[in-house]
Symmetry: C2
């Protein structure tokens, strides 16, 4: 009979092997978005399906299940080891509910839908995407049955991204929050608007790239353990903490997009680089959840990267990169411009308030798709109607409307709510950081964000997945998640900018 | 009972899956040499080992063996299908001789040796590489027992790269050829030397890159199905015919190196892009052999790319890229300079004659390492002695000596002889091409290499691996391999250049 420690080592070995395959898939996806030649696409989809299936099969192995169950019943595991085992056992049992055929079918349909989405965007035609999306929605509905759920099928998918989240909870959060956001948004819209036209001057590609790289480095993203590249849609991915990849995009007539996408993805990247590499492949080495991941990107992008102190230090640096465009724009004008609030069509370009209207619309739509109360062919109409209702704007094309996000083409239903949760966590974490690090604002204003990063590393990154989001929040802030932190953060900020 | 056609389909499916994993390994290796951040190395080695082991396990599956044996015994397969099955069965039986543990141990040792080789080169210290190389040689010796051999253990390794090749055959080929090469080489060395100093002027990086890309495109490498990047050592790899990657390197004081490395790797890439994609994963979709692969790179690099007609068209183009450096160099001086014959230390920079002395030295050394008549610690001494003997030069450092090639760190013992075989095949193929395409020389002189490429596609690329090298040679040229084609090619070329 192997000892518990021998069994635990075998468990770690097996998980490392599965992580190697998942890392490899992540590399294939990274390559697909950055360097792959166009005709490589079809085969890449097939290869990704093969790897998904393989990872599924290895994780569904009977022997692994036996080991996990024995370890879960063993009395002589360290508490941290026990946590790893119980979390993995939970994942294992979930994985077992799938069949290899379903995993392959889903992966293949995602690939079809993704390529249909690319074509649909190119030709600005939702009709090209709709049939593939419809098939994907059918598979996701089947997945809710495979996973099982209480109360609402969408809960099954929500749980994939945020353990314990439910339709009831998200509905409640939004119904508390949206009226307050709406009120603030309307109050701002009645005030004189701030100027941000300077962002749309001509900013040459190479200088933007240099500026972005400067900024990512300055924020302590480790280029010995990662890199930045160009892709059509910015994203971050990680093969393990020593190889983390982020991407950005550059439009020569929009410097803002590139700047805050760099900071956002750096936030994700710093989290991944801060995970404990010695626990590669097991929960202690994995990120806590999607919403906590998003809290890290948003904390850097918004709480830090859209704050006045941050630009006290970095605006003079930015002006050195673009003297022609920015020499006559004051720090104050710059700060107000970058926080301009206005109705917009594109989620990723939205201000910090209306951003959550965008999320809410997507959440409503995908919930209805999954419960069967909305057909994919009705999607553009509902989308446009909701935008009119909530933001007062209507997209002139589906490309600027329901084709704008990649998520549905990836089958990632249940993902969007984590973006809002991420903002709420970020506000609460950042408020706590300000308490715990009394000199934080001055440090940020002198360009020194290392104390903040060290605090995040210690409190959040190094924790891996041992706590759920809610528990981690309690651990870091002493309180459960409370969206009023976020509302107060917005009120403080915009009262000053808009003289409310 | 499934029908033969059903079985054949299952066989194809299983092989496709294995090819997907091998493709993925190739992507990981490509990334490792091009974009991976430094700290990613250790984990990448582990991930590559996992994938090797997985590919091994899938290919060692009992069920696959059963299917292959049933198909081999079936009477109702098409001849081409039968060829695929028999070749795969042969590979299968070879693979079965290994154990998963040995595959993993070898892959891990290759990774260690490779990184030791990198460090050893950086610090110009063979001692850093030697212990890892010694362990790798021991594993390769064990591999010769696993594979089995007749007459000489090195035959087992030779066979991995060139089916049917033996020490007796290679010894005979070299002992026939070397005296003739030596004679020619000495005759040239007695003549006034040609000038090639213009290659060592300052050639700015970006212009070299642009020139290289121009050239690779002009030679019909398909950038929809491939790309070129920068790496420390130029190489080519393929994930499938629609995604073929080649690399080059740029030294600002050596334009020659970059130019002919681009043409060489393009030759490899064109072969891979010309393989029948519909046979992905099975022998009909694979390259014939290493020597035939090398024949393609060398045919383009040397027989085409170092010929006068080629530069009649491309030299004026090259001059446009580098007017300052080349405006006062005539086509004749350029042509002679690029064919300068001289003793050299670095294999990849050697002329077409002395290149084979470099190969011979490596062949002798690795044969002795494998038979146990040479210890790794004696390697530098033997290397330097052989260089003095054959080329009359002695490396001033191991970096320019026995550390120059990556092959041994990869465990690729038995590979070098295919380089010489590749030159011999190339000469014979090109002579045949000139017979079959009477206007070939004029076409090349007008920059039109498409007829030549189409002929290679039809005669060689599209054939996959259905014939052995020797059979393919017979099929293409009507004769078995005959190295005298190569000798005649050299004599014709150098007689004119050096007035022999």
């Amino acid at each position: 009979m192997p000892s518990t420690q021998q069994l635990y080592k075998t468990y770690q070995e097996k998980m490392r092997r599965i992580a190697d395959i998942r890392s490899t898939s992540a590399l294939m996806q990274w390559d697909q978005e950055t360097y792959m030649p166009p005709k490589g696409a079809a085969m890449r989809g097939q290869q990704l399906s093969t790897l998904s299936e393989l990872a599924y099969e290895l994780f569904a192995e009977e022997e692994l299940g036996k080991i996990l169950n024995e370890l879960a019943a063993a009395g002589d595991l360290q508490p941290d080891e026990r946590t790893n085992v119980l979390l993995t056992l939970e994942d294992y049992e979930k994985n077992k509910r799938y069949s290899a055929a379903f995993v392959r079918a889903l992966s293949e349909q995602v690939n079809k839908a993704f390529h249909a989405w690319i074509s649909a965007r190119k030709q600005d035609s939702y009709a090209l995407f709709e049939p593939e999306l419809a098939r994907l929605v059918e598979l996701k509905k089947r997945e809710t049955d495979i996973l099982g759920f209480k109360d609402h099928p969408y809960n099954a998918l929500l749980n994939e991204y945020e353990k314990g989240a439910t339709v009831a909870l998200i509905d409640k959060t939004f119904s508390d929050l949206l009226p307050e956001l709406k009120k603030l948004f309307n109050a701002i819209r009645e005030k004189p608007q701030v100027e941000d036209a300077f962002f749309q001057l001509h900013y040459p590609r190479q200088q933007q790239w240099d500026w972005g790289m400067y900024l990512v480095k300055a924020l302590h993203f480790d280029f010995e353990s990662g890199r930045q590249d160009i892709s059509e849609h910015p994203f971050s991915t990680s093969f393990h903490p020593n190889d983390v990849r982020i991407t950005t995009r550059i439009s020569e007539s929009d410097m803002a997009n590139m700047t805050w996408s760099c900071i956002h993805e750096t936030g994700h990247g710093l989290y991944e680089q801060g995970l404990p590499v010695e626990h590669y492949g097991i929960p202690a080495g994995e990120p806590c959840s999607y919403s906590i991941h998003e809290s890290q990107s948003r904390l850097w992008e918004n709480n830090v990267g859209r704050s006045r102190p941050f630009w006290v230090h970095y605006y003079p640096e930015l002006q050195k990169f673009f003297p022609e465009q920015l020499a006559r724009v004051s720090l104050d004008a710059f700060y107000k411009g970058l926080n301009k609030v206005q109705p917009s069509l594109i989620r990723t370009e939205a201000d910090e308030i209306s951003y959550h209207f965008h999320v809410y619309i997507r959440y409503q739509i995908e919930k209805k798709l999954i419960e069967g109360n909305l057909q994919t062919r009705e999607l553009p109409e509902v989308w446009n109607h909701q935008y009119k209702e909530l933001l007062g704007v209507v997209p002139g094309s589906d490309k600027a409307g329901c084709l704008q996000d990649v998520h549905w083409s990836h089958g990632s239903f249940g993902y969007f709510p984590t973006y809002s949760l991420g903002s709420f966590y970020a506000a609460q974490f950042y408020e706590t950081a300000k308490e715990k690090i009394p000199a934080l604002q001055e440090q940020v204003a002198s360009g020194d964000t290392l104390p903040l990063l060290s605090w995040l590393r210690k409190e959040i990154h190094s924790q891996g997945r041992r706590m759920k989001s809610e528990e981690l929040c309690q651990h870091v802030t002493g309180k459960p998640l409370d969206a009023s932190y976020f509302v107060r953060y917005l009120l403080d900020k915009y009262r000053e900018i808009y003289n409310l």
